[in-house]
């Protein structure tokens, strides 16, 4: 327990005393003797008033004596030690030390110094030393604790600082890497904000668009570019791919760029910009052109010999060039059949190549689907009869005419009906149906058969090139594996849809739709 208060410097005790018991006895005897004087005066006096005064003063002196005795006995019995230090000229103490525990050592010291003032001063100095040591110790301890805590805080701060630095460096490295990646990719990358201002573009984009990034950042992408397609690219909110043609700034050549757009949204789904990836497909387009030319050339070269063979064979088979024997006839017919097959394959390949290159033009005209269905069914009737397959039609009454290329739609229907007959066993049934869709906005044409059907997993593959998913009889050599792929292209060219439905062992149903010609729908 500390009894020192407000001690901040070395203390010099100025007041310290103890009255020994022998001196106290002398003082007590002196005061007792003083008491006898008024008592003797009282005995000699006859006046009552004087007596009262003497008694009162005697009691007062006795009281004072008792008080002094009591006070000194208290202090000495408790053995407390009291130290006060002055702070200024007035001598008002600013610190008081009370320490009962130190008393035995002090008393010991005092007795050793045998009461001289000089010794008492030494005692006081020693006490002061003790007290100041204790104080100093505590101050040092507090300082050490403080220093320790401060060091701890500094270390924590440094750790946080270096962690931050590491994070910063890491982010910087990542940013550099990202920039390096973006700069090294061959595709142009343009990021614009919702206003169409360029936020970022890599050097490939600069090259492709013929602009400098520094001049573009923060500006609308198309401030100086006049290409309307680019404008639509940036302003279009739709995602996906499109091709745009831009003029190179240096020369008059045109570049074909494929732009894949993606809208960038934040976590709340708000549009924060758009990323466009630009790739130069000029070479690809040139190759496509070359391929298209090649196909056209090859198709002519392939067909020409077949045509000559075909006509030569038909002259023989028709016996225009003279009679042929039955056996000769049989082999001539085999040749003709395979020639037809080869021609069909070449025609299909060329059709498909044309369709895929978007080079097929439609001869659209108002067309009655009923008439097309009838003519197709009629053309296959002999074949169906030979297989004992019945082909029937179901036309919804009052079907409107549609705008379509009748020859191409007939090609699709011939293919679907031909397939149906091919995969339907004897005594089977093929039904061609035409009706309006539920919403009345499209014509739906379907060809259903009673064949073995198609497995569910094979349905999506049906419209792939050279895909044959069903079993067909060995004698049936027709079919190129391209029919459905071509049908799909033709239907899609008409903005229609084509699909197949089938339940195992329940036959298959091929359906396509055609948009109604608005003018003829009314």
């Amino acid at each position: 327990m500390c009894h020192v208060q407000c001690v901040t410097r070395k203390v010099k005790p100025v007041f310290a005393f103890r009255i020994p018991h022998s001196a106290f006895r002398t003082i007590a005897a002196f005061f007792s003797a003083l008491l006898l004087i008024p008592l003797a005066s009282w005995a000699a006096s006859a006046d009552d008033a004087a007596r009262t005064t003497i008694i009162a003063s005697t009691i007062g002196v006795a009281f004072l004596l008792g008080l002094i005795l009591f006070r000194f006995s208290q202090r000495s019995s408790k053995g407390q030690y009291h130290v006060a230090t002055p702070t200024d000229a007035s001598g008002t103490p600013d610190g008081v030390a009370k320490d009962p525990a130190a008393l035995p050592s002090i008393l010991q010291e005092i007795s050793r110094l045998s009461g001289s003032i000089q010794k008492q001063q030494q005692v006081a100095r020693a006490v002061s030393e003790l007290v100041s040591q204790s104080v100093e110790q505590r101050v040092t301890q507090a300082r050490q604790e403080f220093t320790q805590r401060a060091n701890q805080l500094i270390q924590e701060h440094r750790r946080a600082e270096s962690a931050l630095e590491r994070k910063y460096q890491q982010t910087l490295t990542e940013k550099k890497q990202t920039t390096a990646v973006l700069e090294s990719i061959a595709e142009g990358l343009v990021v614009v904000n919702p206003n169409g201002d360029v936020v970022m573009m890599n050097s490939a984009a600069e090259r492709l668009l013929g602009v400098k990034q520094q001049a573009r950042i923060g500006k609308p992408l198309l401030q100086d570019l006049k290409d309307e397609q680019l404008v639509s690219m940036v302003h279009s909110s739709e995602q996906g791919e499109r091709e745009i043609v831009v003029s190179a700034s240096q020369d008059s050549t045109k570049k074909v760029l494929r732009a894949s757009n993606a809208v960038v949204t934040d976590e709340h789904g708000n549009t924060v910009g758009m990323v466009a990836v630009l790739s130069d497909v000029t070479k690809q387009r040139e190759l496509d052109e070359m391929k298209s030319e090649f196909v056209s050339k090859v198709s002519h070269e392939l067909r020409t010999p077949l045509i000559a063979m075909r006509h030569a064979l038909s002259i023989l088979i028709d016996q225009v060039a003279g009679p042929v024997s039955e056996e000769q006839q049989k082999f001539l017919e085999i040749s003709q059949r395979n020639l037809d097959r080869l021609s069909q394959l070449i025609n299909d390949l060329l059709d498909l190549s044309k369709l895929e290159a978007k080079k097929m033009e439609l001869r659209n005209a108002s067309m009655a689907i009923g008439a097309v269905i009838s003519s197709v069914c009629e053309s296959v009737s002999a074949w169906a009869a030979s297989k004992r397959v019945t082909v029937s039609t179901q036309l919804a009454p009052g079907l409107p005419e549609v705008s379509a290329d009748a020859a191409r739609i007939a090609q699709v229907l011939t293919n679907l009906v031909g397939n149906a007959i091919k995969f339907t066993p004897e005594n089977g049934q093929v039904t061609v149906e035409a009706k309006l869709t539920g919403d009345g906005r499209q014509l739906e044409v379907s060809v259903a058969d009673t064949g073995v059907g198609i497995d569910k997993e094979n349905l999506p593959k049906l419209f792939n090139k050279f895909q044959q998913v069903g079993e067909r009889s060995a004698s049936d050599i027709s079919g190129t594996g391209l029919g459905l792929a071509i049908s799909k292209e033709i239907v899609e060219l008409h903005q229609g849809r084509i699909w197949a439905e089938s339940d195992a062992q329940q036959g298959a149903r091929f359906v396509f739709t055609l948009s109604l010609n608005p003018s003829s729908a009314g």
């Binding site: 067909r303 020409t304 000559a308 030569a312 002259i315 225009v320 025609n347 060329l350």
Partner: protein
């Protein structure tokens, strides 16, 4: 006995010419052959046919150039175009502008050839008889 109908076949493919002309002759037509546009023009200058079958794709002077020269020389004989690939409608626009009587896809059967020929002859009209 009526005068046989004179058919001029212009094509750079001799095998096609030979088979078709054999068949046409068997059907009673009088057939002349030309393997180049220049040959055809020489032949026409000598004896105008009743109907001309003209191949579109030919080396040097092609079908279009030949037809232009014919029309420029005021030869208004009906011309049927011979095509191999399924020509797109736009590719025939220039021919149509010069006047054609029909199109025959060479891989089609000879029966079809016959039909196209007959319909081309009908298109001649009385003035060119």
């Amino acid at each position: 006995m009526p005068q046989p109908i004179r058919v001029l076949l212009i094509d750079d493919e001799p095998d096609f010419l030979e088979t078709v002309s054999y068949w046409l002759t068997s059907q009673g037509y009088q057939v002349a052959l030309a393997t180049t546009g220049t040959d055809a023009l020489t032949h026409i200058a000598r004896q105008a046919p009743d109907v001309i079958f003209l191949d579109i794709v030919m080396p040097r002077m092609d079908g279009l150039a030949t037809l232009k020269r014919l029309r420029a020389s005021n030869v208004m004989t009906p011309v049927v175009l011979l095509t191999t690939t399924g020509q797109n409608p736009s590719e025939l626009i220039e021919f149509q502008a010069l006047g054609i009587a029909g199109v025959f896809q060479k891989q089609a059967s000879l029966d079809v050839f016959h039909q196209v020929l007959e319909s081309a002859l009908k298109s001649r009209g009385p003035s060119s008889l």
